[in-house]
Subunit: 340 residues, 4 copies
């Protein structure tokens, strides 16, 4: 294979983003898209040079020309589509989380294993320039053995009430990125989670049993200790920082900014706020994760962010929720593993 | 009273530091010092213009010219001296912690209350330019209601084995400053503590039941959540940062540096490491805490960092130790209060 | 016109860059390219979807479907092509400088005026996020009346000897961007130039009467004073900074960096070097200048960086050279103006 | 000699500052002070422990117990006092400039040479932590051969009209510090100066033939090129930065700040303005220059900032003024040297 023919299932905000990046990729062709709102997407698809638009994703699965599918539909549909796509021999790129239920996710990944296709989970932040640099610095040994990992992840504005209802809760929807980041930068597994959470921004969160602010402590199998702080509303913008402190030093990344301006007046010295939200901040990481996915398939090399990575993060999210609800630290079952 | 006559009890590293700052203060006179090693201090005292050097601190307490004493002797002697000094009508500046035992501390503070003298605890960091600015920024309402408080406090090098044996453990010896900082910047009380700790730097710590690395979660009565990360060894120097994140923004202070140099070469861009340790980093705060103490007494105004502040921090340290040992979050008894 | 059909003349490094950006632009079609090495470009062109490749740029000028041409051929060919393209009614994007000879440039711009077509000069830095922010900050009045303008512009590595021979010299080849920047951020004209230059990096520069290091003072018509420092070799990378100091404050932009990493070890604190060179550093500005050009033509609005801007910068470069050679400040003739 | 007995001539703002620093110095005794306003200083002197206060500085010169004098009187009196003090065998610390007239300064220094006493000129910035680090970095060879030196020096507020009349003009009064800094960090002599200056802040400067804003280009004997920008009014505070760019890299220092606070709100990210003015900014450098002076005398080692250094800076200031007035670069006479 020298070029990849791709179908995209689900053309919401993130599906469209992937579509646009794939359309620019020299080794990818977007042949078909499916969405429940197929009709309203025809004009956009046509101008983008995508000729096949359907509301039935099965059409993509039976198309023998399609090598891989991107699953960008609502979370509740993921595992069924994964299983069908795997059976149809398609490689799979699936948005996170795989599902809101651990057993369903495990089930889907087993189908993938069985079919021998590749599956990548959309933890795009692994492909961000800053976090990749942290990862590489830790891996290089420059800062020695990791002792403390600190992740700050705050959204600029809370989601809508409608979104809250189906998001799976902050841990599964938002913190899950940070759980993956924690595993990514330390190269170690989480053994225990403790969450102190609260609903400080808007009571709507607690109405749905959700939380909007949390500090989470992680214990890693290599001895390191991690802490993640999350907020659904940082008025100054999207706050995305990571620090790894180790026996030989520390490595930290700050927020990206729109410009490096520094304005000094009689009032003080002003700088830009961080890049506003994930579409701006992680723009390039979405391109890079697609590059990695295509490269993995074309060269038959390992996936950079596998289904197991997705499952592990979901497991931590589930434990975090339990800790939040019980007020106690929760140990994770070890040995979770997809048959390989 | 227009000037304060002072006696210093205990002339170790910190006692000498206070002595030197007091000697430069225009409204203070250091009349006497006492130390078990009195003999060896005579030359230094004489050159500093301190004529009375004794190994019996009682001599300072019966001297009616002495208005206030600085207690800089080993922690185990603090409460006895406090009680005697209070009875003798001396105002008291006491190094932290008041004691390693909550009841002893409470007892001593009750004696202080009864005697109607003033007592300041040596949480010098409250007087540091950076942390004071954080405090003022939070208090001014600029960042709204505090939601998350993050304190990083890492020493450049671990203490000696000898020190570890009598330090009272990391929580009482080192973290106690951070517990006070947490209360100071939030203006709120800690209700619950959870500690994830480990001995990652040197097994000597665990030999004495101590820890060298910890991440601690605090729950505040105003709803905020705090996290402190401590390490006994940051190879790049003394790491002292605080961040308060609130409903209207965040306020953060970085480390102080010896110089603002930035050297750019083909290898990268280099800056100075933080100021090495507390004597350099907090040099000015030691001067400021003395200024505040003297000012409080001369103008009969409230103490900036009271005995109750000392007691509260000790209470948190005790709970932290319990959490570390049990692996569970520990709630603090509320209503702890010295009779006033 | 709702979409622009474009021909590109000269497919070297910069021509190819423009081609790739134009190919991604939704409102542009690259119909033809011409280059003396046409044969060797056919494969690239074909894969990029450009069907017409020729070694005779006249073919582009007589093609009535082509609305605009990009002139990316060697500087010595610019003015002839501009005149022919203008006569043929094509809008023109021309790389800087227009020519190495003031009269030739003026001549070409007069032909453009006469033909009533639009011409944009490739001062891409005006479209850079940082410098645009400086421009907007100054224009908004935030920093008051500009008093001092400082521009640092240093290349990471010197050009080849072959390049030096035909570059027109540092002032016309490199500083010209800074002369334009000076006019752009101040919104004022340069009245006088003084240059202190030297050949400190490599004697090869002086062999060709060129210089590799210079500090240039500019006097502006609005009273402000400017200073530009140039070097052909900054070992730490491409150094591109601007500061405007005014009556109400200052605005400064720093270099862009690949990542925001900060690595602290016992050796010190390390950060990334600036983005290496213009292709990385100004990647987005090349996209933005094309957006502006296409927008100007489609909406028939003024060009953001006109031929007159190109001419003015060349005039300053010429005066700078004279100052360097005579060791004296050189006044610029005022009133230079293309008939409009 | 193991301790230095000192007299201070002139107790204005800077004289008082030196007095207070000397009073704290363990190896110095301030025995006498003289000032034309002696009467009004008696109370301050008495509280500071200085018993001898006179309006006749000759009394200090004939006092055989006095080892050294600090000359902090008005500039116009410096050279006469230097000559008399040298004759009386006193070591001399003299505030900058030595005089406003080159010949007078030279004359005074010759008297110093003849008498064999030591003289230090008050270029305190050489003793500042930041600039000393720049000096050391350059000297260590880390950044190779200096090519470009950039000095920014801007005052937070212009002096009074009365001060302007007797200051000797911006070049002699303010820029002179920067001329010395240029020589200090490069370790090279200035051969040529070119000034572009203007009166942009207040017309009162031009009324006295003075300027308030200037950009000055320096040519050094080692080939480097320097640029200094001065302003009498930076509304955001005292702006004091230096950058040296060389063949192997660059070294730059930024402004010192009162705190490292960073406040992020919906409006942007705010930091502190620089330390307000020289008393705050250079507080420690005044202590260090006194330490160096006392050390040089007690150990009979070379003066860190000699009379010749003072003279050289005055020579550059004089040339700068000439360049400003004539609009042309001015070459400095080489070979200026005090007999040694």
């Amino acid at each position: 294979m020298s070029k990849l023919t791709i179908g995209i299932i689900g053309i919401g905000r993130i599906g469209k983003l992937h579509a646009e990046n794939l359309l620019r990729h020299p080794l990818a062709t977007v042949k078909s898209i499916s969405d429940v709102r197929a009709e309203s997407l025809k004009e956009w698809a046509s101008s983008a040079g995508i000729n096949h638009v359907t509301n039935d994703y099965q059409e993509l699965l039976i198309d023998s020309e399609i090598d891989a599918v991107f699953i960008c539909s609502p979370t509740s549909t993921h595992t069924d589509i994964i299983k069908e796509a795997a059976k149809a021999g398609k490689h799979i790129f699936c948005e996170k989380p795989i599902s809101l239920t651990y057993d369903h996710s495990l089930n889907a990944l087993e189908a993938v294993e069985e079919a021998g296709v590749k599956l990548q989970v959309g933890f795009n932040r692994r492909f961000d320039h800053n976090f990749k640099k942290i990862y590489e610095t830790v891996k290089s040994g420059t800062i020695g053995t990791p002792h403390i990992v600190k992740i700050t992840s705050r959204d600029p504005e809370p989601p809508s009430e409608q979104y809250i209802q189906t998001s799976g809760g902050m841990f599964m929807d938002m913190s899950i990125h940070d759980f993956d980041m924690a595993r990514y930068v330390t190269g170690s597994e989480v053994e225990e989670v403790y969450v102190q959470g609260a609903s400080l921004i808007d009571p709507v969160f607690s109405e749905y049993g959700d939380t909007d602010t949390a500090v989470m402590t992680l214990k890693f199998s290599n001895g390191a200790i991690g802490v993640i702080d999350n907020s659904r509303k940082a008025v100054y913008g999207y706050d995305q920082r990571v620090e790894v402190f180790g026996s030989l030093g520390s490595a930290a990344v700050q927020n990206d900014v729109p410009t490096t301006i520094e304005i000094s007046t009689s009032e003080g010295v002003y700088r830009d706020k961080p890049k506003h939200f994930f579409l701006e901040r992680y723009q390039d990481s979405y391109v890079q994760e697609i590059n990695a996915f295509i490269e993995s398939i074309l060269s038959d090399s390992p996936i950079a962010c596998s289904g197991l990575d997705g499952l592990k993060a979901e497991q931590i999210a589930k434990a975090a929720k339990e800790s939040y609800e019980t007020g106690k630290p929760v140990k994770l079952e070890s040995g979770i593993q997809v048959k390989r």
